[in-house]
Symmetry: C2
């Protein structure tokens, strides 16, 4: 592969930035990668891991002469970072981000960017339940989707960023920001809140002890705990910044859950059976689309 | 290992019976394994796979002279099977089952068993989203828990069955049947209903298409679809037969979900952050207890 950006600045050095850095270095996609994070420890770790070439203490320093600046901080921190870097951006530079919410990020970031700087918001649909720079790996984006939500028409800046994401292993789609937020409310935000809730309830019960919940988790619950182990700050910000779409989906979810609870109470086995049969088809679709493994139990150690 | 039961009859030949058969054969735990299933095709498959030595057309034939009879049918079918086999059981035989609900199974089965037959209900907390005889494998029970809920005091029959489950790789605990049903409502039944509901909602939305849900599922949703791909008949019967405990947990779940929705609506970030931090600890407990992998994304192909 060849260099796509001469200098890339990564603002925030967690799982996503770490994986981007490792992949860009592995495949020579950037001339130089400059990183910054608020914590000196994180910066030192990032240098040790070789996920950037150089670190700076401030975001303003990091973006100097960068052709691409990627904001990899929690959604709630985007406005402040954008205000910090705005005056220091190189004319013609592209600013992007990796936030899980797009409308709120656009509103937080766009006002701080000077004319002549291109803003191409992005969201790689990739991650794990782990966080921090040590959790990054170069293959994170392979065969995952990255959604770009450009605010203006397609431009050279969008095409170039799409090229970078493809070179990092992603499939790339563009999408209107509000539609993005609705889609993600379904595929990600509501499921996360539901998983957090279920795990919290289990933790809270007095009649079933935590040690019982832990010992006997293999019956289904443990899948929820993986999701509910995700980064608390990131997810707090997602919910605060995709309020309407998330609450709408949760409203639909509650309605449906009540209907199923009623079927259980009334002993309506046909309703339950039909519902449970329909949901199998979606799983098949996901496996056929190459977005999950067909191996039993996700191919965990306990299945062949 | 040495033979624990001379003749074992498996009634129903799905994932659990299949895995038991393969394991007992592999390790020589049974002198002979006789299997039966309603469908001729399933019986033929079971013979082909070698998960039993012999099949019979009826359950009554299968249990003849068996020292251990294991009912591996959906919970809703237990009463009928018990009525069928009752008159044909060998005096001194042990009858067990693998149902996910224990109180209802005891009520369905016990009245049909003649005096002198021992009834030791059991529930191996193991499985995958796949079903049918071809989905079985000998290692399914390794390091998983099997809960025995004997209705009378500890007896030789209970000890012998515990020995079999340990020989098949399980850890064994005994538990009071009603407590079992409450614990499983938390660790399994409520999570399954919630996963089914969320997947159903996603399927139902008009504004987000199924193909979008499928393509972009890696952001969390795909974990739910695995659970929601489980056997519909089995799960229908679980909910119909563990009504009270499941509805109680779902009530607690809804209460908590409403509190979190309210925090989102009000913008109460501290409440969200505290909640999401607390749930991480449970995940750590499960990993330390050896009940799940610490590998990112369950060690799916996309993580190192």
């Amino acid at each position: 592969m060849s260099v796509i950006y001469h200098r890339v600045a990564l603002i925030g050095l967690g799982l996503i930035a770490g994986s981007m850095g490792l992949r860009m270095k592995r495949d020579g996609l950037a001339g130089e990668i400059v990183g910054t994070a608020r914590s000196a420890e994180t910066r030192a770790t990032a240098l040790d891991l070789g996920l950037c070439d150089r670190v700076t203490e401030t975001a303003a320093q990091a973006v100097r002469d960068a052709d691409l600046v990627v904001l990899c901080v929690p959604v709630g921190a985007m406005a402040e970072v954008a205000a910090d870097i705005g005056p220091h951006l190189k004319p013609g530079a592209t600013v992007s981000d990796v936030g899980s919410v797009k409308r709120a990020v656009i509103e937080a970031v766009a006002p701080h960017l000077p004319p002549g700087v291109h803003f191409v918001p992005a969201h790689p649909l990739a991650g794990t339940e782990h966080s921090g720079p040590t959790s990054g790996f170069a293959e994170l984006f392979d065969n995952r989707w990255c959604l770009l939500t450009p605010v203006n028409e397609a431009s050279d800046a969008t095409d170039r960023l799409a090229r970078l994401w493809r070179a990092m292993g992603s499939n790339v789609d563009t999408m209107e920001p509000d539609h993005h937020d609705r889609v993600l409310a379904v595929t990600s935000h509501a499921p996360h809140l539901i998983a957090y809730t279920m795990v919290g309830v289990a933790d809270d019960l007095r009649r079933v002890t935590d040690s019982e919940v832990i010992k006997y988790s293999a019956a289904g619950f443990r899948d929820f705990t993986r999701i509910a182990a995700s980064d608390p700050v990131m997810w707090r910000d997602v919910f605060l910044n995709n309020k309407d779409a998330t609450l709408e989906i949760l409203g639909r979810f509650t309605e449906e859950l009540f209907a199923l609870q009623r079927a259980i109470r009334k002993g309506d086995g046909d309703h339950l059976h039909d519902y449970f049969t329909r949901t199998r088809a979606i799983r098949r679709g996901i496996i056929e689309a190459g977005q999950d493994t067909d191996k039993a139990n996700f191919g965990r150690g306990d299945a062949p």
